[in-house]
Amino acid sequence: MSLGLSHIAVKRALVRALGILVGVLILPSPLWAQVVGEKTDRPPSEGRYLYRSVPDIPIRSEPVGMTLLSALWRERPLLLTLVFTRCAGVCSPMLRSLKAAAASVGGAGRDYRILVLSFDPRDTLSDMAELADHVGVAGDPAWIFGVASAEDIARIVRATGFWFEWEAASRQYDHPAMIIGIREGRIMRFLIGGAIAPVRLNEVIRELRGEFVPAYPLPRKVLFRCFQYDPASGRWAPDWGLLLLLLPGMVTILGTIWLFRRESAHRLSAEALRSREDVPGASDPGSRR
């Protein structure tokens, strides 16, 4: 007796099921993604990753095509950020904020470039092109949008303190908003958060350019400082403390001049009265010893 299904139909169903199983198992599927990187409650700490080397991975981008990361950072410093195009959260706002800050600070394309990589294996180059368009930087030579293999992305993630985790409930990746300043393949600074202040960006770009700030005063409520560092201009401006330091010298010089002037009246009158021969019994200073 037959079940009403032809053996061909059963075969097709089996093949389809097998295909789905294989696809689910082998193809990079969000359903199977674990946390990549070290997930922390606190934002990634720049101090831990400072000066560490960034893995030199191959990336694909338009219009450059296939290139190594090192080829890019050798040309000029990079601001690297990791996003995914289906992001309903912070990715686009962060990129827009970065675009605005970069426009305000200047030097994009000349002093540094911005590399936006996707950590989502589903993202293609055309997805990235759409994202670039969406942010409003399509065609801008300062911005590079690219993709890389999952293993290579994982290497970058582990080397920089970034992390991402698939959340089934929202069907989104959970991840920090973070931009990594890279110079000569080494991590120089982080910018954490979705809102990029031009002042902070300026600081990072200065360090990427190789400018060195030997001091960093820690934020403290302090009475008088000698100098205040203005991150916007990168210059040290004198503060009230410097005046206090110069005060002793200045006041003393002025005070001395005043003292001598005050005494000049006495000097003149003493000279007018002076007559050494008229004072009896007094000794000549020279003969005192």
Binding site: R48, Y51, E211, F212, P214, A215, Y216
Partner: protein
């Protein structure tokens, strides 16, 4: 120039000074008139020689200032926080008293690969301390101040493997002499 060599230079110069003073003192045994013109000439020579030597040493030594140069990227960063009476030395930043306690009490010493250019970021949570690095042979290699409210950046290339001691070099209270830290280069 090693400190001992500097000491030898100083000793040599001090002996020269002493000999000059001795000879001048002995010259009083035979009274004579001073040839002020010759003395004036000698003084001129002394002036130009001294100024020349000082300028030369300025030229030689100023480029060797220990302040970090622009454009050089160190291999790693080590964070140091001084507080009465220990140094917390760690590759992760130390931002609170609790972290300082943890690092000084529990953390294993930092281990640095030999030949690295290390940047020490040094600060203090209380008074001025002096972060100094002593080589495995007990020679002072470099130092910087640990000042509250500021971070000093000292860069050092560590070419010799071994145990490095950190001693406090700015008087900081009753246990100043016991204040120390350690790290390893391997």
């Amino acid at each position: 120039m090693s400190p001992v060599a500097v000491f030898r230079l100083f000793l040599g110069l001090a002996i020269v000074v002493a000999v000059v003073f001795l000879l001048v003192a002995r010259s009083t045994q035979r009274v004579r008139e001073v040839d002020y013109k010759a003395a004036g000439q000698a003084r001129k020579v002394f002036f130009f020689t001294l100024t020349g030597v000082l300028t030369a040493f300025l030229g030689i030594t100023l480029p060797r200032m220990p302040y970090p140069r622009e454009g050089v990227i160190p291999d790693r960063v080590v964070h140091v926080v001084g507080k009465q009476f220990a140094f917390a030395i760690s590759e992760t930043p130390i931002e609170t008293d609790a972290q300082w306690e943890e690092v000084t009490s529990f953390a294993p010493p930092v281990r640095i690969p030999v030949g690295s250019l290390v940047e020490f970021r040094v600060t203090s949570f209380d008074v001025n301390h002096g972060f100094s690095v002593y080589s495995p042979q007990g020679q002072l290699l470099a130092q910087t101040q640990a000042m509250p409210g500021y971070v000093n950046r000292l860069r050092l290339r560590l070419n010799e493997p071994g145990r490095y001691t950190v001693l406090c070099l700015e008087f900081c209270g009753s246990a100043h002499h016991r204040m120390r830290g350690v790290f390893f280069v391997e």
